[in-house]
Symmetry: D4
């Protein structure tokens, strides 16, 4: 196949339809700053080029989600995580525990979980386990330990990754969020906290970047030894 044929020209963008072959990942439309029509057009083009693979769109406005529902009948649209998915489900191996403290972090958690699924791994979503209520967190300890990799979504002072990091030796990705009550410098507080955690080996991504954490977590989970085990299980919420 020659170089040219890996791209689809939509007029407003050339889409690289062969990226998955190079990296093993799904194709993604980043919705922020695009019109609903551009998003739907890009999703359709990518889906037609690769009918055997899912297409994910993220950061969709209410208008974009509405148009996806109307124009892309088979699409799964998530209003909390602001995503749409088109095409067949990806086969899933390995499991990612996606954990957060409260309802304010749910949009980031959902964006992450959907990304994990589209990129080929199972998810186990665990909400309401903030460090100011330790009994709830400790009650979920075994469930978390059963996964291949943990994504801890945390705003405010972002203490959750540190506490989780002391309870487990699993790969652990922290997603700082821009959630807070006062002067937190748009998430800088949570970001600095995740980078300065006293628990060794915690990895991090940009503020509110549930998508990036999901891509990385899926890559780790689907090549995990324990993923052999998890092929039968379906913990996804």
């Amino acid at each position: 196949m020659d170089q040219k044929s890996t791209e689809v020209d939509l007029g407003y963008a050339r889409i690289d339809v062969d990226r998955a072959a190079r990296t093993g990942d799904a194709e993604v439309v980043y919705g922020a700053g695009k019109t609903p029509a551009q998003i739907v057009g890009a999703m359709r083009a990518l889906s037609q080029a690769h009918p055997d693979r899912p297409v994910l769109a993220t950061r969709l406005s209410p208008e974009a989600r509405e148009l996806c529902r109307r124009e892309l009948p088979g699409a799964a649209v998530d209003d909390v995580g602001r995503t749409a998915t088109l095409g067949p489900s990806a086969p899933r191996t390995g499991c990612v525990a996606v954990v957060c403290a409260g309802t304010a972090d749910l949009p980031v958690l959902r964006e992450c979980a959907t990304t994990v699924n589209v990129f080929g791994a199972h998810t186990d979503e665990i909400v309401d386990v903030g460090v100011a209520g330790l009994h709830r967190l400790l009650a979920q300890r075994d469930r978390i330990a059963a996964s291949d990799v943990i994504v801890a979504v945390a705003g405010m002072e972002a203490a959750l990754p540190s506490v989780l990091g002391g309870l487990t030796g699993l790969p652990l990705i922290a997603v700082p969020t821009s959630i807070g009550y006062g002067w937190h410098m748009d998430g800088l507080t949570a970001w600095l906290a995740t980078l300065n955690t006293c628990a060794p080996g915690v990895l991090t991504v940009n503020v509110d970047n549930g998508f990036g954490a999901g891509v990385a977590a899926a890559r780790i989970a689907r090549r995990s030894l324990s993923s052999l085990r998890s092929l039968g299980a379906e913990p996804d919420a």
Copy 2:
């Protein structure tokens, strides 16, 4: 008594020897930026003006501590907390639990505890209760709950105040410290974390300001109802 007589002129500084009468506190010599001789001179002048009250000096260099030992025979000098205390002990009522995660935070914890004692309250020092080892922290829960006010000294991501704040309804003061492994902007990380804690009602002071936290904690403890109880107890380390 006229205005003039409340001050002692040492040549390099006029010392206000009547501050305690206005605020109820001890007199303090802030040692940073002063020569050992200036520190010793200031302590002696304050002690002579008020032989019935203790004098505290903080942030002492090794040389200043050495001179205090040599020139002020009755002084109690603490090499960890970098303090010296001269004169009679203050009567103590109420108890402050001073808590930290590890040995790196000890200098700030010791500065705080000595300040609490000099300003008239008991202390209970609890070290090595970091959030990455929750079992240690939970094991000290009852001991912490027995105090009138908690001072939580914490560096790095400073998750300790948040976890403590979920375990108790006592007044809680967080002291962020400049301890960290990587890029933490000289304690800004810990500082922001203590101000953005998800546990309501946590108070904070400046980075590494064990003295300030100690003054505030003593003021709270010594006017506490439970201080009636604590007059007999002596938990100070």
Copy 3:
């Protein structure tokens, strides 16, 4: 009682109705980012679970306050402090002086004062005592000294806590506010000032965090020795 029964599931959030038992505090609904319906629903659920205790909602939009007035007949709604309170008054002991420089700081002062009352202490609100008009501040000196703890709400350069800290030895909490005329970095100026005050023992909370200061002040006041005295007094505005 088992673990489960301490939570109420509202669909969009699980509410911890037993927090007060652990910490001695009231239950609070943080209104920012929630719909009016969610706020009213959460207040009603908490009030039904604990009909003997007040429920506080903060940071309410005009729409949320309107719905509280319509749907929660017994609720006390404060348009300045942007709060609503439901249920019986908490018994009050001890007194908090809540002080600010001018009308621009009133919303934060009111949020703080209502929180103090709901968390079980009296309040004495003192407005218009900025440092650029010292005679006003000095005229209120005795009134301030009669409280158990002071909350000083201050924007701009936030000099008020420093001046108060030199006039009294009471526990003193500074609330920096985001009020200012020019480039003040959203309250960073006031925040830095309160943390660098030359008066020892000043405690601080996040910018505009009247709620957090109120929780802390009430905890200090209600366990204060002098609270024995204040049971008869009613200085609340």
Copy 4:
């Protein structure tokens, strides 16, 4: 076994000798801020408590490395990475490609590689593949693709992780370093770059934190499917 027996008291610190059992990791002595004698003492105590496991010490000063050489005969000391390792090698499965642009980043790369080995995975170190000399980087493409996880150590503008992220779908950890020629704010430039990479799924740690990246990479590699394959290979430099 009771709680107490998992700690060794050295006078200046209580060492938690059972951490590995909880997390599956080795024990580590963080050398910065400790005296050479304290470091040697801590390494010896941990090694005696667990003679079957390696002990790693990081951020060692020249004096500390000298004392390790003299007092701990079996220790492997690395002057570039500033580490010392004591005890038997850990069994290794899976392989981490540790990549950097130039000699200035070597200390961080070596700290990372040694950590990976001690935490149980093989390493393949690839130096001098900066983006300003693309031909060198492209020449190593197959070698990098043969690993289970990549650690990209990069200072200045830190473009390396982005370029690598476009060439592979492997898990990829970026370590920003404080290396630079001009005003780079102590590594903030590299740090921001790694968090804003245009390649999806890049994870990051704090500036210069080769240790943290090594812990995370080893955890991912040693539970990787392809680690079955790598048991025979020995690419470590």
Copy 5:
């Protein structure tokens, strides 16, 4: 000619119509913060004062572009680059390659390219050559090398100038953009990256400043030796 006659007074501004004589450049109306009527008025005045030279207006709102179309019949209006040009084309010598990674950077690229043309040089616009798809960039290498100066427009982590700087010895101007997915501090990330590039000799301008880069690039290109050659070529898109 006296001093006065070089200015045109429009009531709301005195316009310096002789600037070009001093610097050799065209006249420019910076549209941000001006009303559509003010912009059209200023363009007309400048064009009448110098009917032999083009007038450029930048940062035009949709309303301003609409009015330009209606009121200035001969004007060329660009909705992507948000510019309008009035009057005869400037003679062009030398060629500027204007390069960017993706569609999000197109507005800045177009503003830059139009500025280059108005200030007297040819342009060759090359889009979609981001570093995460190296094969695209390498495919355009010869085309880029055929110019006199390169302008690299790059957002996010802005790795493009570094990679280009390693492939060529041409004068190279980086334009960091405020394009990004997460916490990038309004373009600070890209800005810092362009200033810390590992490729020597990269010049930079302010974030999103396509105009400034265009002015500088045209000045370099039109006095370039190779501009003798380029007089016949017309690579402008």
Copy 6:
């Protein structure tokens, strides 16, 4: 006189000996970053060019002050303010009150006061009037009001200018200093405070810039109406 003759060439610098004629000010040697020999050489050259005017050198190291004492017999050297003055006194008119809170601010106050004198105005130095001891400040109120302009030198939270600004309508210059106990960002706290003061009309200079404030204050004082009065008075310390 031709252009050339206004400069003296010392080899390492051309000195502009005619600046005073243009601005009415004295000549100044900024000592930071210069060797003692360079400083002495520059002072001598300026003094010989204008034997009727004083020469001021600022920010002198101990070594530079020592050399000034040895090589410039008539020089007045101030070890607190780190200045040296050579040549005849300037005639003085008008009076500047230079005020600070404590001994830590003395070096900046002295640099300012000496500058005021050299630039032709009287000074009245008032030390130890911090806002945490209001009675001291109020006791000096009349003395401050008797000057033509006030310079308020203040570190930490820098509340002094605000309080002074409420007590007087005189021109008021604040000099923030880098004095502080904790995290104050090298004087940013004081700087922001002086710029956000609630007292209208407060002017400010850079952190620790006693020299700049002195130049400005002298310019204001010596052209003041009341300077007619002050010609006989000599309040300088």
Copy 7:
């Protein structure tokens, strides 16, 4: 006169009607954050309390200016400077040159000039003298030198105060503005520039604070020796 009678209670604020007696200044209503009705009410109350003095209101919204025009017949309303003035003109002595580079800085210049007039000094407004067109600035040199004090209003890189400071020895106040084309951090660039000027003795105020500069400049000008001269002149625009 007793304390009470110096204040007027409007319900939403107590207004200090005796401030002018203490500081010699006019009374001012800061309009930002107040409703049009509150502003008009405050102006009227202050004017009635002191019918012999002008009242100034600043930072007025279009709606507030409209209401001032309708409700306060004698008020002078300035739509550029966003101010309203009520009552008799203040007597003026001394003259302030208010200078800026371009039309973008006009609102700040007008706010400043009106404040100067209300606070009792003449003004000479000089616009369009930016440093990128030196000939314009040099042409106004004598006019500037004829004033008692200069206010230089400057945005972007704020080079104007430095250039002016080299041309004159008059008191000079810089007002940095938030005007800029690219990434200038809301005026931080201009602010830092004015504080780091190479011309000695430049004073500064907060970003865009034309009011503060005007108060200070008037205080300097009206007590200036040359104000004797200026009583006859009327340079105000």
Copy 8:
């Protein structure tokens, strides 16, 4: 020629001896962080590989310059610019005016000028033309206008590039320096100023980066039309 033969392996570094062939530039050894012996070794290796081309070393410590003098007999060592040059002079075409305000900026100016010469262009160094002494700058106007490109080195508020940009239409590169008297954030002030200049088309490099500016300026000058003219002239200092 195969890939390998373009590199020389020195044990501690592989040196790319063929970079010049790719980019047309000289080879450079960045001296910061290297030992004197490593620097001398690298210079010798590069010089032997390309005896027909100069080798430049920058940021040399006094010790490194001493060793260069001793070990590399033909080397030209500059103590002000901290550079050493080895091998034959590069042929020079075109001319760069390198301009600065004062002696404090000389090290950066000299580093830049030497780099320009080594990279193949003439230089004209013009010192002491700060904006606070406009007459000096205007006196050099014709000399500056005779060059092909200007490098303006400027610290403090960095107003020089703006003033120069208004006087000329030549390509103009600003080098902000970390020179300043007070709080300037290590050159951030100058950096922001150069990026926010009101003169269009000013390019910039990192703080103190005389080398980078020199590389860029030489690339522009040596391909300049006027370089045909300048082959005979020798303005280099």
